[in-house]
Every structure is written in C-alpha cells, then in structure tokens.
C-alpha cells in the first residue's frame, strides 16, 4: 500500500477523491451526484467577492459622508466670510453715523446755532 502523504494539498486531495470513484468494476458516472454543489474554490471566491463588495460599499458610504463633511465645511467657510462682510458693513455704517462724522459733515456745518427764545433768569 502506498504510504499516505501527510501533507495533503489541494491537488492531491482531488486525486484521492478521484481514486475513490475509479475502483474496479465501478461506473463512476453512475455514482456522480445529480445535485450541483459549489466546490470550496467557488465558495472561497464568492466569499472574497462578497467581502470586497461589502468593503466597497463601506468605502462608498464613508466617501459620501466625508464629501458631505467637505460640503458642510465649505458652507461654514462661506458663512464665516459672509459674517465678516456683514461685520465690515456694520462697522462702516457705525463709522458713517458717528458723532464726529456727523459733526464734520457739510450739512452739519451749514446749521446755524440757536438759543432758547424764552429764558427766564433766576
């Protein structure tokens, strides 16, 4: 009897399997299962593909979420810029309406001082 190889490899396992179906006076075809079963290779490949698909799905979702983050960040920057512009306008408005500015305006300079018409002394 042939010494059994302790290191069973994939190809050797196929060979041993085949030997079981090719004994004398046995019709291998008649013993072949009618049911179609996926082999270990196919199973492994499918699992790998599924894992890859799941990974891809995860990456897609993460990228999508991060792109929203980027959009939100960009909007925040825009809001900040608009707020700064608003502040600038508010400052300009306050400066234009400041008492010094009003006092030095041409309209103010053309005003004539007046005194109360009815002053009764103590």
């Amino acid at each position: 009897m042939r010494k059994k190889n302790k290191n069973m490899t994939y190809s050797s396992s196929i060979a041993v399997n085949r030997q079981n179906y090719s004994r004398k006076n046995q019709n291998a075809v008649s013993f072949r299962s009618r049911e179609k079963v996926l082999g270990p290779v196919s199973n492994t490949i499918i699992l790998v593909v599924l894992a890859c698909l799941l990974g891809l799905l995860y990456l897609t979702q993460v990228t999508k979420t991060n792109s929203y983050g980027s959009k939100a960040y960009s909007l925040q920057q825009q809001q900040s810029k608009l707020q700064n512009q608003y502040n600038d306008l508010e400052v300009a408005s306050a400066q234009l309406q400041s008492l010094n500015n009003v006092q030095n305006s041409p309209v103010s300079k053309n005003l004539v001082p007046s005194t109360p018409s009815t002053t009764i002394n103590n």
Binding site: N66, G69, A72, N84, L99, N100, N122
Partner: protein
Amino acid sequence: MNNSDKRYDFKAVRNINIIYWIMLVVMGIFMIRLFYVQVIKYDFYKKSALSDQLQQSKIPATRGLIEAHQGNQIIPVVLNQQLFTLYADPSLVKNPQSASEKLVSIMGGSYDDILAKLKTPKTRYVVLAKKISQDQSDKIISLKIPGLGTVGQDYRVYPQQELASQILGFVNNDGQGTYGIEQALNDELAGTPGYLKAITDINGVPLAASKDNIEIAPTDGKNLVLTLDIAIQKQLEDIIKNAAVQEKSPLVSAVVMDVNSGAVKAMANYPTYNPSNYFDVTNPGVFNNAAISNAIEPGSIMKTLTAAAALDQNVIQDNTTYNDPAHWIIDGFNITNIEEDGGAGVKSVEDVLNLSLNTGATWMLMQMGGGEVNQKARQAWYGYMTNHFKLGSSTGIEQGYDSPGIVPKPNIPNQSGDQQDLNYANTSFGQGLTVTAVQMASALSSIVNGGKYYRPYLTDGVIDAQGNVAYNKPKLIDSNVVSSKTSNSMVSLLQQVVTKHYQSGFSYLNFPSNYVVGGKTGTAQIANPKGGYLENEYNGTYLGFVGGDKPQYAIAIFVTTPTVNGYAGSYAAQPIFGSIVHMLINESFVSPKGS
C-alpha cells in the same frame, strides 16, 4: 500511468509544496511585521498618524459688543471686525520685486518697504502688513505667490473714536479686557471658547465619518448696553476738553448721574485717548478713568454732605443761625475762612454753604458732638461719611480700578486726642480725606432724591442673540441716607447757593426758572508728599444738580491744578458746571417743571 507521468506528478506536488511553504513563510513574516507595527509599535504609529490627521484647536468665542443710548436708539460703540495680517517667508519668495509690485497695487503702501521686508535675510517670517481687509486678503491669496500668507484676527473697533474711551477700556493683544468696562466685565464679554478635535483630510477639512470627532461650539460673549447717552457724553467731553485747555489743567473729570437710579449718563476725563491706537499712548495714566480711580481731597463741596448730616441728625435746622467767630482753635491749630467771607458775625446755614465757611462746617460738626468737636462728633460724622454716603469704600461700579478713597477713622489707637479733632474738623470742609467724583455724585444723588442711595452703574442691560434687551434694575443700597425733610432742605439750600452766585456776578448761572439747579463749589488744598500742603496749587471741584420739578441729574466735577484768576472752585469748576447744565437744558435732556 507510466513512470514518467508518476515522476511528473511527484515533481509537481513537490513544487507546489515548496511554493506553499515559501508563501507560508512570507505570510508569517508579514504577520510578525504587522504584529510589530500594529501591536508593539501601536502608540508610536498612532501618534505619528494623528499628528498629520488630527486637528485640535480652540474655537474662539466672539467677544460681546458694547452699545449705548442715543436718545431712544441704541447704537454700537464697540464692534468686532476680522482683519488680516499679511506675512511672508522671504526664503520662498522667488521674485520679490514682482511680488512687491502686486502687493502695493492691492493694499497700497510703500513698494520699497515691502521689498526690503521680502529681502530680509536669515529669517523665515516677516510681517508685511497688519489690519488688511478680507477683500485685500482674498486678492493676495489668489495671486498664489509662494511664501505669502494671511492670518485673520478679531479686532475691537470703536466707531465713535475717543468717545467714552476711559469708560470702555480696551482689549490687549492677549485678548484680555484692560481698564474700564472691558476689564470689569471681561468674563461676560469674553464668552467661553469652544473646542474642535477632528480627523482631517490633506486640506485640513474635518472628515465627517470619523467617530472620534469632537466639536463643542463656543458660547459667545454677551452684548452690553451702557447707561451712557452718547449725545450727552460727546458734549460733556467737548466741554471739559475746552475747559482743560483754557484753564491749563492737566486733568479734568466730570460725571453726570441720574439721581433716581444711579445710572451714569455721562462720565468723562481729559486728557483722553483713542482705544483703537492704545499701543501708541505714551502716558499710561490716560487709560485710567480718573472719575472713579482718582481720589482727591474734595474741598468745600464736602460741606454739602456735612450740612446734610447735621440737618439729618436734627442738631441744626435749615434756618438756624449762629455766632461765627471767624476762627476756631482745634487741637491748637487755627481754622479760618477766606478773607472775602466777611469776618465774624451771625451766620446762617445758607451762609455756610454760600460763603463756603470752613468755620461754619466746623460748627456743624461741633453740633454733632453737642457743641464741640469730640469723640461723639467724630463717631457721628464718620458714620454719615461711611455708612450713609458710602465714602471710604469702592462704589461697585463696573470699572477697573474703582478707588475707595480714604476716610480717617474716628479713633486712632494709641493716638487719642492727638489732632484727631483737628483732622475731623478738616474733613467737615473737605480736607484730610479723599473721594472720587463718582462717589460724590452718588452721595449727592442720595441727598437730593429723598434719601435713597443707588449703586452707581454703567451697564443698562444685556442683549440676547435675537436683539432683545434685558434691562438691569437700579440697585437700591440704602433707602434712609437722609430724611425727605433733610433732602428737601438741601435742595433748597443748594438752589440758593447757585442763585446767590449768579447775583454776585457769575452771569453764566442764568438758568431758566422752570428748572431746579443747585450746587456747591470747592477749592481744595493739595497734600504735599513731604508733609503739609502745597503752596499756591489747588484743585477746583463742583457738586451740583439740575432737574425740573425735582433734581434729575447730579453733576460732579474735579479740575486738577487749574491756572485761573480766582478760586479754583468758582473760576475753574463752576463754569464747567454752568456749561453742562445749559447743555442739558437747551438740548432737552432735562424735563422742565410741570412737564
């Protein structure tokens, strides 16, 4: 199967086994390496990765704005504005000439200066310009000149320039409020900064999918509304500036306070400064709000308080007369009056205030002690000065450096009888103690409003994010400073003082009769640091009020060492009082009688 086929199979199996083992060894090496990298060196690589990806920073809170009244409107007096600092790394700027030309075309300035900075050797950082606008910053960044960058910074902006600068204070480079309300209410104005911790992409944009991101939003500072009316404030500043220049005074302070609430409507000092350029100030003394931090001997305006205390104790009446000897000997020292007061004779309480008699004030103090200046008189007067008029302690107004002033104790341990009576006689006419202008305005308010002492205050309210104003209520500290009878008597007596002064030739005290105006001058000697008092140097003070049916505003004025012909109180401080009252009446800040 023949032998060659068997050999072929054997060889194939052997080769597969060899490849299998090689792969196993390689996988093993990978796993060991991965174990080393991911487990043993976990901390090192995590730290290294995070240093590139993790952004941790404080999110600064926006400092609260400060606003004030302008009639019925509320307008900003302190705003925030983000401006930018333009910096460069000269070693990265390839063509400094071209860069300088482009920068000058955007932000102006000197081409030579910018070029010189861009050519600075042995440095990686030079500031090319400060406080450039966002528009200018955007244009410069869009040039994409290597080595140039801008960084934004919030600045406080003062649209009214110098107006109320000493009340406002400023924010220093460390973001700390310094002097004025910026210092006193720094915590309320500053708010609480937020915190950002986020994994970022290569551009520094936080990745939304990271579960470790932390973002705590900042709490912005509160917006404050001051009690100041900037129209009164502006004119008060103009009045005291003109007076300081004319009278050659190094420091003039004035306070206008609502007697019925303690709200400060205007408070000014001259000289002053522009808080936008606080770093250019050479004399840091101008940062002080002298009206609350500069405690001086007030002089004869103190007689107003002495008279009120004596009337309130019922030891004198408003029509009481006495025989004034024109001098008193107290602790061996002679207390006299100025020559113009007419010498010895029968005098009234009104004369004491109108002629500003030191002997009269001392006589009032004597009445508190049963006829002489003694421990009873000292205790009683001390009680009025500190407990009733709140002198000798800080007012609590929302300002940095709120001075308490000094009121001498009525009994100094181990010095019993050692000139204590003289010291106390001096306090009765405003020497030997120190007070601030705001303390005196608060004390007068309590005397003329019926006896209610309100804590002086500057913050009228707080504005929320929707712009709603939550107004502060006046804080009544003491409702029995003096009786209403004493209050009425004092209003009448001080009115008489103004009338008599007008009749004696101070024509500018010609106020319309449908207003009530009263006051008292003070000319104070100045303590010599070497002992005694300075010769020929005096401070002028004035304490008065104006109103319609009843007093509406208390006014305190301190003029330091003016150069005038005559007594500093009458010729330096009193004209300022006259101008302020005319301004308040003419511009309808005071409601006339019957309105």
